[in-house]
Symmetry: C2
Subunit: 381 residues, 2 copies
DNA sequence: GGTTTTTTCCAAAGCGCTTTGAGAGGCAAT
DNA sequence: ATTGCCTCTCAAAGCGCTTTGGAAAAAACC
């Protein structure tokens, strides 16, 4: 059976390869054959035979090694192009031991909460991977936990590196990955051992400090905060920024007007409603996500308050394309940092780590812009 | 160099393998070595040598072929487990020609709009893949367009199948995939050649027909609609459902109160504002996405209207975890169908197609529940 | 007991690529 | 003429697995 296929393959290739020399009738047949069988893939050996070269030389020519003559290389490249030759990725992976793939693991352990930030982040990353000929391998929870997945990846060389998302306080993943010698980079950062791994983070502390300071400068003294889950380091850092700015002004911290939880529309609504209903209600609100904003605006509208007048609002904006802070009415004052751009940069850094094995571990801390728009006003105007 | 590594490997393996027989001191060393080198992966040959079996037999035992004795299989399984043996995925792929991976392509061509629905869908799918030992390969736009990616996938056997998302009217992808003989399934469906490919779709037409009928039954005669981009088949179908329900009641279609565009918060706001500002404004609004709802509610609130009284609202709810229709106030009447569940089912169907090469092309049309909640009321009450 | 069938295992040949180590040919220097 | 040094090319040996086509041992039949 397989031998029949082989023979057909041979015949077919013969015609295809002779295409330039054949007469019209044959050429027509060939064209339609080519059309029909565009899925056919020739391999290196066949290409080499056609070029009257050894597979070695062809392989080297295509991969740009210097040992092959300029003219030969040109010829090989041209024919490979014309015939649509694509090296078999699996064979290449096996031979080189490199997978040209990056692993991303979905954070499904958080009560089935699929974070819409994730898709934006990974989209940014994936575009970079695509440019460099890398694939992205996704994994979503299930029976295996994240760490076993890493272990499996490391063993089989299924991926050349992984991206760790949403680090938590004392996150166990970092230690494991270091042990596994699997290249990785963290989006976000832990407070401990900052130097022992690569990371890219935005300055969450600074961002919320700036935001809080803006509010205190505008005269606000009661400022509520609706934050992400507190064991996530990003949320912790934001809280620290918030608290330090308050301390700077000698303002005490009131747990009644703080909240941390899932960043959903509904939670935004509930928490802001709760916070705005207490007797001495805050005059300003800090929100950790645009998702929370939709809910908060709902609550605020419902209570008959006016954003920017009765209550000032600042939110962190990850640049999600379906939730535009500027388009809101009034337009929203935000601390803004594109999560998609972060994804791209993380990808670049990881690819660097992978190719320059002994390069330094990169650490990038992005400062976050505070963009003042219409949702913040001085108190009591 | 590599030979040194080899020797070390040999020695190491020797100790590890003898672990059960060794005395305490050695055992301790071994334990720590094991600990340190958890990333070490033995290969089939080594495992076979240790078991005094041939690689053939071990391979067969692990893959559950019948040619191997029950006792032998048990032994092999046990030792493989104990030693943490994992077959090298690339070698396996090369040998079998199957990649055990499914391709998903990100829809980035839509003006950089990363659809948050996508992550929910793929999360559902990925969980199924994980159970069956399949990986998901993601690809996001960039230099290559979607079709070239498919072509590349097909040639190298990089994936065993692909999932096509967001089909458009006259979508060219289907024809290409059929030609490439790359197994695939469409989430959604085209109107043409419905039988020539596998698909799973929700009954968008029926859903919006039901929703519109509910509104007309409640006495509404001017019903606006804010839909997705009209070249997407799902949006087209919804529009058809809407129009057919109106026709049934002899109600004309007014293009002034219909709209189609990106499903973003901002667009929801703008379009609903526009529609609600025309002189003879609708008493009900149909929305194609919960994302549009946030914007629409904003507009409605701003105009001082009350949902469920002045204006009835029905939206399609894909079950996004961060945007809960029931949690809104008033809770929202929706046509509901979990996109995540669809992802899971699509994955199952595709895996079926892949394993049973000559199974029938599955076609599943999911009916959509209309869940009546507080946002719909009879007109003029 | 001899013959056939079944069970259980193995040697060896791939899968399609990369890479090592070496050879052939050309040219300049000795 | 010999040597040395490039430049360009190749044969062959992997990478780690699966799978084909037996073969040996055990079991079943006549």
């Amino acid at each position: 059976m397989t031998s029949i296929i082989k023979i057909v393959k041979q015949i077919f290739m013969f015609y295809v390869l002779q295409r330039t020399k054949s007469n019209f009738a044959v050429a027509t047949i060939i064209e339609s054959a080519l059309e029909m069988c565009q899925s056919y893939s020739m391999n290196l050996k066949e290409l080499a035979k056609y070029l009257n070269l050894s597979p070695t030389t062809v392989s080297r020519a295509l991969n740009g090694y210097p040992e092959v003559g300029a003219e030969t290389k040109r010829r090989v490249d041209a024919e490979a192009q014309r015939l649509g030759y694509q090296p078999n990725p699996h064979a290449r992976r096996l031979a080189t031991g490199r997978s040209h793939a990056i692993g991303h693991v979905f954070p499904t352990d958080r009560s089935l909460m699929i974070d819409p930030l994730f898709s934006d982040f990974v989209a940014g990353a994936a575009e970079i991977y695509a440019v460099h000929g890398f694939e992205v391998m996704l994994h979503a929870g299930g029976s295996e936990d994240e760490i076993s997945v890493y272990r499996r990846y490391a063993q089989g060389g299924a991926v050349d590196g992984v991206v760790v998302l949403g680090p938590r306080v004392n996150d166990p993943r970092i230690a494991v990955l270091n042990k596994l010698k699997l290249p990785f980079i963290v989006h976000g950062r832990l407070d401990e051992h900052e130097d022992s791994y690569a990371w890219l983070d935005i300055d969450n502390r600074g961002a919320f400090q700036k935001a809080t300071k803006l509010l205190t400068d505008l005269g606000h003294r009661r400022i509520g905060i609706i934050n992400g889950l507190e064991d996530m380091t990003f949320a912790l850092h934001r809280k620290q920024g918030y608290e330090s700015a308050l301390r700077d002004k000698g303002i005490g911290i009131d747990p009644m007007i703080t909240s941390s939880g899932l960043m959903t529309e509904e939670n935004g609504y509930r928490q802001s409603k709760r916070i705005l209903q207490i007797t001495n209600r805050p005059t300003a609100l800090l929100l950790s996500s645009m998702l929370l904003v939709s809910g908060a605006m709902r609550a605020i509208n419902e209570m008959g308050l006016h954003i920017g007048k009765d209550i000032s609002v600042i939110a962190h904006d990850d640049g999600l394309p379906f939730l535009n802070a500027e388009g809101l009415v009034p337009s929203l004052t935000t601390t803004r940092s594109s999560i998609r751009a972060a994804g791209s940069r993380v990808a670049e850094l990881l690819l660097n780590i992978i190719t320059d094995a002994d390069a330094e571990q990169p650490h990038e801390l992005w400062s976050v812009d505070l963009i003042v728009r219409g949702s913040t006003g001085s108190v009591g105007v």
